[in-house]
Amino acid sequence: MKTLRLQNEPIDYTSALAATGTVEDGAVLAFIGTPRRDSGGRTVEHIFYEAYESMALKEMDRIADEAMAAWPITDCLIVHRMGRVDPDKASILVAVSSRHREEGFAALRFIIDTIKKTVPIWKKEVYADGSEWVSDRV
């Protein structure tokens, strides 16, 4: 089962993780990304996420399909927040379930690495005295 979501609301781990994995599975592996407070010496007040939403969902779907074809994982969940996110809150939750954890590790790693390369989502860091799109940095 694939669950792919872009949402403005905080991520509810319990309901998200309870929906990942079935009684056939032995292992759920999850990655939770949180914006860092410190960014190259500047203090991040909050983050603003923007996406090309329809394309982002298509890319997430493609990544989930690739992972599910490459490893025997049964469920794949990708939830990414949009809009304002405070530094101590989760911006992304990725979870996969599999019968054995080795497969889950490999799949989870692939999914996160690929999301960060190909899904059209951008992060703007907002400081006390301005803001900056992170992707613009050299």
Partner: protein, 81 residues
């Protein structure tokens, strides 16, 4: 031909719009379309070489030839997660 151009993140800030309709001569490439917009608005997009292009929600090369009703999207390297 008519196409739609979408801009995101810092590219949206540079161009001053998130979506715009464009009239182009047939045979125009993705990059050609963006250059036409820059000329029309009198702006230059910084770090042009690092930009990513997509047509109809699929990544494409910048020499992709556009067709009637294509939706061209232009954005900086992604930074989600």
């Amino acid at each position: 031909m008519r196409i739609t151009i979408k801009a995101f993140a810092s590219v949206k800030d540079s161009l001053g719009f998130s979506e715009r309709r464009l009239d182009l001569s047939s045979g125009t490439t993705a990059e050609g379309a963006v250059r036409a917009v820059e000329r029309e608005l009198g702006v230059g997009i910084p770090d042009f070489d690092s930009l990513l292009f997509a047509v109809n929600e699929e990544y494409c090369r910048r020499d992709r030839v556009l067709r009637e009703n294509d939706v061209l999207a232009l954005f900086p390297p992604v930074s989600g997660g």
